[in-house]
């Protein structure tokens, strides 16, 4: 019950003493070179192992495990569904021609239809949480929002992805694919599971195949039985120099990164202890924009830093045990001034300049976003 009450905060209330929190905060906020508990550099990610296409019953799947034992599996399933076109959703042009529209159906290309965000469904299962708890719902909405929101630029090369993932799901005017993305966290959520789930979803979507369409135009969809000719959901470019090279993707699904600010420092992929002392936590979704090599921002959400829920430390001047008598000021919440080495829960929000710096670290050329995408490009997806 208590877990569920707190579920929406970045994870549960951290079980660290005020002294530990203060030590962590001091070492993470050292100007210029923060010292992380596991010795990583501020922009370094945890080592991970990844594999794709592990579930034969799905259209695409992936597993990622971090070295600390947290693992996630994502399965992507697709089904064909009839597009519901109520009278009020037809545009007036087609309504005006309604009389002869029926027999002239299919003259206009299906490109006129753009997809709907509802066609992508996401469910997240985290052990210890009900599926309607705040944390899974929040994580699911966060990842879905950037997935359906990423619309490729006007590059000619990838015609299928013109409308982003939504556009890819359109078969013709009357039929579309519905995508079910099921995310399963296999271990207890040791840290805030967002980076793990986002990376796993990314790989699963890259490995997703849809059966090849045999019918054309506005016919009822009819697919090729041969799974070997199935097409990738995210198309690959076939200009490979050698077969050993990893295929390149003109469009990639977005990645959501977890970024925290501690003091002046910006730290990526925080573990549980680091996120417990963060001043600000942001989830930033990025993708490589298709028309240029730059990173493109898709969404930002602030996450409640768990440091607001921690217990404050008591300075020696107010401590009964140190004085041997009642403390001088009985008003314990009155002592608001910062005492060095004594933990105070964070209060208030975050300055705009800090947010700007966090985003810039992700987006800039040669920044962390580029590094992550390059790292993911190194993963070979069968």
């Amino acid at each position: 019950m208590s877990n569920q009450r707190q579920a929406s905060s970045a994870s549960q209330v951290p079980h660290l003493s005020p002294a530990e929190l203060s030590y962590l905060y001091t070492s993470l906020s050292l100007p210029k070179n923060p010292i992380r508990p596991d010795g990583r550099s501020p922009t370094q990610f945890r080592p991970l192992s990844a594999e794709t296409n592990i579930l034969p019953g799905t259209n695409g799947s992936a597993r990622i495990g971090f070295a600390d034992g947290t693992q996630a599996i994502v399965g992507v399933k697709a089904s064909v569904e009839k597009t519901i076109l109520a009278a009020d959703t037809l545009d007036s042009r087609s309504l005006a021609q309604h009389g002869d529209a029926l027999n002239r159906e299919g003259e206009e290309g299906s490109a006129a239809v753009s997809g709907q965000g509802e066609w992508v469904q996401m469910s997240i299962e985290i052990p210890g949480y009900r599926d309607d708890d705040a944390l899974p719902v929040f994580l699911g909405e966060m990842m879905r929002e950037s997935l359906v929101g990423s619309v490729a630029g006007g590059s000619e090369e990838v015609k299928e992805m013109a409308g982003g993932l939504k556009g890819r799901l359109v078969i013709n005017k009357r039929w579309h694919w519905r995508l079910y993305i099921d995310v399963l966290l296999l271990s207890q959520p040791l840290a805030y599971p967002l980076p793990l789930l986002s990376l796993t979803t990314h790989l699963a979507l890259l490995s997703t195949k849809l059966p090849k369409l045999k019918s054309t135009g506005e016919e009822d969809p009819f697919f090729d039985d041969d799974w070997a000719v199935a097409e990738y959901l995210y198309p690959r470019s076939n200009k490979q120099s050698s077969p050993s090279d990893a295929p390149t993707y003109p469009v990639r699904p977005p990645v959501t990164l977890l970024v925290i600010a501690v003091g002046e420092n910006v730290i990526f992929d925080p573990n549980r202890e680091e996120i417990a002392v963060a001043d600000a936590v942001l989830a930033i979704s990025i993708t490589r924009s298709s028309d240029s090599e730059n990173m493109k921002l898709l969404s930002i959400r602030s996450i409640d830093p768990p440091s607001r829920l921690t217990q404050p430390g008591i300075p020696n001047s107010e401590n009964v045990n140190m004085l041997g008598g009642p403390p001088a000021s009985s008003n314990q919440s009155g002592g608001q001034e910062e005492v060095g080495g004594v933990w105070r829960p964070r209060r208030g929000g975050v300055q705009r300049s800090v947010i700007t710096r966090m985003i810039k670290t992700v987006l800039q050329k040669g920044g962390v976003g580029e590094e992550v995408i390059q790292g993911l490009e190194g993963v070979k997806v069968e």
């Binding site: 930002i300 409640d304 208030g348």
Partner: protein
């Protein structure tokens, strides 16, 4: 198993038919209402505290209907109302002791419930909270927790309940659902919820660092040829497409943001040449400006609430 003994109405409600002739007038101009405000001009809203006597704090917020909506109500031309105006009621219960089953907490525990009335949106909402409502609740909690001085109430809880009586539209209702596909109206709803909840918390006399208010800014493009431009306090029904939008919860006295939610592609914003900001920075700054505007009304409402409580003493 469907209920076959009674004749039930359709579960999702019905809408009146829309004829092509209604959507495009004789002159060829669609009936879509366009924004008449300046890009930096905010909508007026009404905010009053202490409307619900049984709660320890309460507030009611209502946006003024747009000129087009007012005109359509007095002189209806179409069966589709052109837009809707946000109406939110907020109640605060507490601080109250936590139940025995909850372990010790040195801080005030916040619970936020956002619930749409079944009739709030164009599509009927069920009685069980759905994902968007829970999602809004988490956003709201993040926004408020940063402002409340939680350690002054150890072992206690605070319940904040928001009822959306009328929600913002995600798009102009004459448009096809895919043309404008994202829940842009939710951002406005969240901004309204933040402002209303802040007033209700102040009405319940709970210590805060500052009054936190919500503001929305968006990059909109009304025709495909021009680059999207920045507008504050966007009404999604007034624009052909919204590229990107951002909502912040902002505390003016500390110049701090407690909640930030930005979505959409902000890279192609049309900013002035001298403006060195990128699209997302301009969006965040715009949303902060909108929040500052909302804060003036919020301050007046809270001042009223305090005057009333002094009068009662």
């Amino acid at each position: 198993m469907a209920d076959r003994r009674r004749i039930n109405g359709p579960p999702a409600g019905t809408r009146p038919p829309v004829y092509a002739s209604l959507k495009e007038s004789k002159t060829g101009v669609s009936e879509r209402t366009l924004r008449q405000r300046q890009p930096t001009e905010l909508r007026k809203f009404y905010l009053k505290t202490g409307m619900i006597p049984t709660a320890s704090g309460s507030s009611y917020l209502e946006f003024a209907p747009s000129a087009a909506l007012a005109a359509a109500r007095s002189n209806p031309k179409s069966l589709i109302p052109p837009s809707s105006a946000l109406k939110v009621a907020c109640t605060v219960h507490g601080p109250k002791p936590l139940p025995r089953s909850v372990p010790f907490s040195p801080n005030l525990l916040l619970t936020t419930h956002v619930k749409f009335a079944p009739f709030a949106a164009r599509k009927r909402k069920g009685h069980v909270r759905d994902t968007t409502e829970r999602d809004l609740g988490v956003h709201l909690e993040t926004a408020l927790r940063g402002a409340i001085i939680a350690e002054r109430w150890p072992k206690s809880g605070l319940d904040i309940t928001l009822t959306i009586v009328e929600a913002e539209d995600d798009r102009w209702w004459g448009d096809a659902p895919d043309s404008h596909d994202a829940s842009w109206g939710m951002l406005n709803v969240l901004a309204g919820c933040i402002t209303a909840a802040s007033a209700a918390i102040a009405d319940a006399h709970i210590d805060c660092l500052d009054l936190v208010s919500g503001g929305v800014a968006a990059l909109v493009s009304d025709d495909a040829s021009t680059a999207p431009r920045l507008v504050l306090d966007v009404d999604p029904a007034e624009h052909r497409s919204i590229q990107s939008a951002c909502v912040v919860a902002y505390m003016p006295a500390r110049d701090e943001i407690t909640e930030l939610w930005l979505k959409g592609d902000s890279s192609r914003a049309a900013l002035e040449k001298s403006d060195g900001r990128t699209g997302h920075e301009a969006l965040i700054d715009g949303a902060v400006d909108a929040a500052r505007g909302a804060n003036t009304i919020l301050t007046d409402a809270v001042r009223e609430s305090i005057a009333r409580s002094f009068a009662q003493v």
